[in-house]
């Protein structure tokens, strides 16, 4: 079949659908947020034939979730009917917590993880800013362990990067 006889693809519609599929891919370590919320998806490009390229960036160089995320993205997009798929690693500019969306921050706080903030770390349980750092490194590379001096509860803080 010649290219001229192809049904023209609606690249904008495909791109929207790819983003919709990606928004359903949960972060493997913090499943309440999606990889789109975290700003890990750097770009979606749709070619003339409807082929899809997705650019992904790691949060930390050694993040063990990176390969799981790639596999999850492939599964989600194949499931959404996007078969011609290419995943590319994007290293520059380096990922920053500034790319976490407002929605992502809200979801983090709702599950007890203080979202990244350069100022005082606010307790996600009671809202107090009387908090102390217990450990620079928490349960994953991206988090530090804090304790609230008001409600006495320990909590994770998503570190600024």
């Amino acid at each position: 079949m010649s290219a001229a006889l192809r049904v023209p693809v609606d690249r904008d519609a495909i791109e929207r659908d790819v983003w919709r599929c990606l928004a359903a891919v949960a972060d493997p370590e913090i499943p309440v947020v999606s990889i789109v919320d975290l700003g890990i998806v750097r770009h979606v490009r749709v070619g003339e034939r409807g082929d899809v390229e997705v650019g992904l960036t790691p949060t930390y160089s050694g993040c063990p979730a990176t390969s799981v995320i790639r596999a999850d993205v492939e599964r989600a997009l194949h499931g959404g009917g996007h078969r011609a798929l290419r995943l590319v690693d994007v290293l520059a500019p380096p990922w920053t917590t500034d790319w976490i969306s407002a929605e992502g921050r809200r979801k983090l706080a709702a599950c007890g993880i203080a979202p990244p903030s350069p100022g005082p770390v606010v307790c996600p349980h009671c809202g107090s800013s009387a908090t102390v750092l217990l450990s620079e490194f928490g349960s994953t590379p991206c988090k530090a362990l804090h304790r609230c001096e008001s409600c006495r509860e320990p909590f994770d803080h998503f570190k600024c990067l």
Partner: protein, 254 residues
């Protein structure tokens, strides 16, 4: 850019990769054995970052070499004398003072070095360094914070931190002592200016040691050059453990 001296370019990146890889492996030995749960997590997280950076650097080195070696072949199928890590990174974990002093000396160097490499004419190296730099800031905060607590702590912790610095100091000389590969890579805009790195490193060391009430050791008459493949007795055993699976079952994966 790398049309000149591709071999030196490869070796330069390989040195960076090897120092990170060997230190990550050393720190990994402490997982489950650190003095407290928080330190176990801290050390494991630093090791994980260093390993991730090493993987990116090894993969890049393999491309520069152009002989088809990937990150795994470079990590698991080279012999001891082919490893170009600074000997600082292969030193045993010792007590917590030794581990922290080694980490502080390395982090202080890495943050100065990678600050320059983030501007490298090699765009892949620049991207890896820019990313690593953000992680290194946390590593240094951790190691410097602990060195201050140990040095300015009890008589026992002060004495041990002091002894650790004395033991490790001869292994720091090569970090900022340029050889022909360092000079060529700096001239090509790819590598760092080690004279500038040394000034920054000195300043960081002096500031933290002052806060920790620790004295800077005297520069020794002997020195080590792991970056030329000259290692002490410790690296061989570390590699034996790290490489045993791939040596025994080539190509094994899971």
């Amino acid at each position: 850019m790398s049309a000149v001296l591709p071999d030196r370019h490869f070796l330069y990146v390989l040195r960076l990769a090897d120092s990170n890889l060997v230190l990550a492996q050393r720190l990994g030995e402490l997982i489950g054995h650190a003095p407290a749960l928080e330190e176990d997590l801290g050390i494991a997280n630093v090791a994980l970052d260093l390993l991730g950076q090493a993987r990116l650097l090894l993969a890049h080195a393999g491309v520069l070499e152009g002989r088809g070696r990937d990150e795994d072949m470079l990590a698991f199928l080279r012999a001891e004398h082919e490893f170009l890590n600074a000997t600082l990174t292969e030193q045993p974990n010792g007590d917590f003072g030794d581990t922290i002093a080694r980490q502080f000396l390395y982090d202080s160097w890495q943050i100065e070095l990678y600050g320059q490499l983030a501007q490298s004419a090699d765009p892949t190296l620049a991207a890896i360094a820019a990313k690593a730099l953000k992680e290194t800031r946390y590593h240094l905060r951790y190691s410097a914070g602990w060195l201050v607590r140990l040095g300015d702590g009890t008589g026992e912790s002060h004495a041990r931190a002091h002894a650790a610095l004395e033991r490790l100091w001869p292994h720091t000389v090569e970090l900022c002592d340029p050889d022909d590969i360092d000079a060529a890579m700096f001239a090509a805009g790819i590598g760092a200016d080690l004279a500038t790195v040394r000034r920054g490193w000195d300043r960081r060391i002096d500031e933290t040691l002052a806060e920790a009430t620790l004295e800077r050791p005297a520069t020794p008459p002997w020195r080590w050059y792991g970056k030329r493949g000259e290692h002490g007795e410790y690296l061989g055993r570390l590699l034996a453990e790290m490489q045993v699976l791939q040596r025994s079952h080539p190509g094994a994966s899971w």
